[in-house]
């Protein structure tokens, strides 16, 4: 099992940990874990494409930042078209699965932020389950699209954007 799938399983477990009265701590950690599951899935996939060596890959993955990934994912999820500096190099279409993964990433990062920092908010099990389910679907979507030959470039573009979004925007 990878770190990403372990985190997803943990998110599921925590959302149901207390059958009757869920603890806020469990629900918050569930939401946070759902985000980190997807975060590490994408980090792993992107890093593998940058370096083949497993040790160096760990170093490469540290170059990703939550904020930059969020901005890139928002653009892919919005369906409103990619910026011109990207369409100059990529003329294909973004598959629905990538849009859904990107949308889940944005939604989950915001939820993670609330879960970790907003102590005024109360979480419910249904909210936590909604986030976990969204993360699960993102995993399925990713599985479906990552090996599809026709979408290879779109997949690589998405992963590279998670790392290079702001630097590309400055050119």
């Amino acid at each position: 099992m990878s770190l990403a799938t372990d985190l997803l399983e943990q998110a599921q477990h925590l959302a149901r940990r207390e059958p009757r009265r869920p603890k806020q701590a469990s629900l918050r950690r569930s939401v946070s874990s759902a985000y980190y599951a997807l975060f590490h899935l994408l980090l792993d996939e992107a890093s593998k494409r940058v370096v083949s060596d497993a040790i160096l890959r760990g170093l490469a993955s540290r170059a990703f930042t939550h904020g930059e990934m969020y901005k890139a994912a928002k653009c892919f999820a919005s369906g409103g078209g990619l910026p011109s500096h990207i369409t100059a190099a990529f003329t294909g279409t973004i598959p629905a699965e990538i849009k859904q993964v990107a949308d889940a990433f944005v939604s989950l990062q915001q939820a993670r932020h609330d879960a970790d920092y907003n102590v005024l908010k109360s979480f419910t099990r249904q909210e936590a389950l909604g986030h976990v389910t969204l993360a699960q679907r993102a995993f399925s979507d990713w599985d479906a699209v990552k090996g599809r030959a026709a979408d290879k470039t779109a997949v690589e573009l998405f992963l590279a954007s998670l790392l290079l979004w702001e630097r590309w925007g400055k050119r």
Binding site: Q24, T124, L134
Partner: protein
């Protein structure tokens, strides 16, 4: 913006009557409401509807738009008759309350802190009419900024006990999520939609637990 001013005035007056203006609260009968109104007739002034601009409500369905304009007009007619140095008469209170109730029913100012949020929710409810499963009992919009400081819209979907008991959020949640996101995007609000599920019963229990 006139609509914001109107909203603030209406909301302020609504809050003068009761912290959460509602006439369907159990135990709150008509006599009790009337007694409260007599004690707090400060709401019956032209200022309550100051800033009203019919154009700002052009997004309302035609019958509601007409009801709103008439209610504002009726309210003003009565409010202008109330002497500045004395209490409103019983008939004035009754007529004013009738018009005011219509305003509260149509605009729900106690639910929305600002005009924009009301407008978004109203439009979203219409956009989603007949498209959500029965286990989604209602929705509530909130506006704010997201982690990137971009304008954001939170859409809370209130789910039924049936949904809780049968794991419907897990089974059907993603499809409902997508439907709501698509509807929100069609509105072009300039806000990123975040769809969240919640059970109001669970939320009440969590809030109670938090307060200890």
């Amino acid at each position: 913006m006139a609509a914001d001013e109107f909203w603030l005035n209406l909301r302020t007056s609504a809050s003068l009557i009761a912290p959460s203006v509602s006439t369907d609260v159990p135990g709150q009968n008509a006599d009790e409401v009337e007694r409260r109104l007599r004690e707090a007739a400060i709401w019956l002034t032209p200022g309550t509807v100051a800033g009203y601009d019919p154009e700002a409500f052009s997004f309302l369905a035609s019958p509601e738009r007409q009801q709103l304009s008439r209610a504002v007009s009726d309210f003003l007619d009565v409010a202008r008759q109330v002497p500045g140095d004395g209490p409103a008469s019983r008939p004035q209170l009754r007529q004013g309350w009738e018009a005011f109730q219509t305003l509260l029913r149509l605009l729900r100012p106690h639910q929305f802190t600002d005009f924009e949020t009301f407008k978004i929710q109203y439009r979203l409810e219409r956009e989603l009419a007949g498209k959500l499963p029965p286990w989604v009992e209602g929705l509530a919009c909130e506006t704010g900024v997201d982690v990137a400081d971009d304008p954001a819209l939170w859409i809370w979907l209130n789910v039924s006990q049936e949904a809780v008991d049968n794991d419907l959020v897990i089974k059907e949640g993603p499809r409902v999520h997508d439907e709501v996101v698509r509807a929100a995007r069609r509105l072009h609000t300039g806000r990123w939609p975040f769809v969240r599920f919640r059970s109001l019963a669970e939320l009440a229990a969590a809030e109670k637990g938090r307060r200890g």
